[in-house]
């Protein structure tokens, strides 16, 4: 993983095409326009009402519900749709893309998407996988924010097929939005987000399933916090599980090993090891909270 900071004023696309103008797509439009990084933002979607709303909010300048028209006009295309929809939509647009148009996405899993996107593009246009770690794919454009990416980590993936010039241009673009642009391999990305996002979501759901109502009556702060993300949209998480299946299985296996060690220490009355683990975890957690500026601990 390498961090890249740039101060380049001229990062610029004449027409930035945003497919799916929700929270992330809308915020990208607002953020790019606020910073003068684009000529025109073209919203591409299915619902004229939603696109009209995005235009009212200033997230896009114009819009189309025609994927072909969108493909023909954009100099950079950002796919901001749910993970399983990215490649099917891209497949329809490929034959009509402008030569040189850089294609990227904001999906929260990368290996499968990048591999399939590179496959359908077949070298015709450059594709760089993207994942800005801010907001979610589900909330609407009304929550869009021109400063959503300020200080956020924006992952851009690098594979052996990645076009270096396109990657560089997107690093400059993400940095100009105020994000910390970070490059890594798709597999590294997927294992890491499985560990720090997908596994916590699955655990939250598992904890809810484990505790019958009588137990839940006793729930206090720790249960409230640990299970909060169990309220996330089930269909979104189904798709993430499908899209990142292997890395998530790997994360579950890793957790099992960790929990087996803890169970073994408990069975063995080895409470020194238990306390050491809690102490190490607290040290890691306190350092992370400090680094991230989390205020609650």
């Amino acid at each position: 993983m390498s961090y890249v900071y740039m101060n380049k004023d001229e990062t610029h696309f004449d027409v930035l095409g945003i497919v799916g103008v929700g929270l992330i797509g809308g915020s990208l439009g607002l953020a790019a326009k606020k910073r003068g990084l684009v000529g025109n933002v073209l919203g591409i979607g299915r619902s004229p009402e939603k696109l009209e709303r995005a235009k009212q909010l200033g997230a896009i300048d114009e819009y189309t519900t025609d994927l072909v028209e969108g493909a023909q006009k954009a100099d950079c295309l950002i796919l901001c749709v749910p993970v399983l929809t990215i490649v099917p939509l891209l497949t329809q647009m490929v034959p009509h893309l402008k030569p040189g148009c850089i294609v990227t996405d904001v999906g929260s899993t990368k290996t499968k998407i990048v591999k399939e996107a590179e496959g359908v593009l077949a070298g015709r246009n450059p594709f760089v996988g993207g994942h800005p770690m801010a907001g979610s794919e589900e909330a609407g454009v009304d929550a869009a924010d021109a400063d959503l990416f300020v200080g956020a980590t924006y992952v851009l993936t690098e594979s052996k097929n990645t076009d270096k010039a396109a990657l560089r241009k997107l690093i400059e673009f993400a940095s100009a939005l105020g994000a910390d642009a970070v490059t890594m391999g798709t597999h590294d990305h997927d294992i890491r987000v499985a560990m720090i996002s997908h596994l916590p979501h699955i655990i939250a759901a598992a904890l809810m399933m484990l505790s019958p109502n009588e137990a839940q009556a006793l729930a206090a702060g720790s249960f409230r916090d640990t299970t909060r993300v169990a309220s996330s949209p089930p269909n979104l998480w189904r798709d993430i599980c499908e899209s990142n299946r292997n890395a998530i299985i790997y994360s579950i296996v890793s957790l099992r090993k960790q929990m087996d060690e803890i169970e073994f220490a408990l069975s063995d009355d080895d409470f020194d090891s238990i306390e050491e683990m809690f102490a190490r975890a607290k040290e890691l957690r306190d350092a992370l909270a400090e680094k991230k500026g989390w205020k609650e601990s």
Copy 2:
């Protein structure tokens, strides 16, 4: 589990002895005095400075650092010390307890404590295990609050040896503090708190241990929430693990079964089952948040 609500004005102990005047002990003193439930609150502890501070705050009326004196004066004795210290302290006080003095505790595990406390008391005085689900054993008396127990669940345990009159009197006392008094067996209590409190703490620690620094750099809201309680005091959690070992092992085994099912569904590409699980968990979580008045979801 049965809920008991009472409206009895005369719940009363002439001298309420509180051993360990921290957040919980201090709050019990403030709460009982505010509601006129006691004649005098006697603080019992090791540190004259801390006891003097508790007196200044109005949490106690007088204090002693002499366990024998404390035992001789109290009509009800509440042990508000860490779980592994409860029985050793009680053992020293037993020979000097007033006849009829009701003894209770506020430890967050119950089976071991109640069994051992009943053992050292040997029928001489009644013992009722208690666990007010509010605050923690660790914070100091400066955080004490006369309304800490209002609306909180206050568990009182019932075993075959439990003195029914003492249990009834403590139910009335807890209810008069504004708490929802709940009775259950010690084993039921321990399994339930293992599931809704101890297991989430262990998982939070395990998640921290699992994720190397590079992954943590990507951490966002779900990781922040799920790992928050990993910042808890390691020595406190060591003691809870020691005190509730068997129930915690049971909770880990239950989690493993749940996670195995999820892994099996993922391996089998059975994303319908995955979505069903997420949907059921969301339903349970939303209902719980509604019932508890949690505002964040």
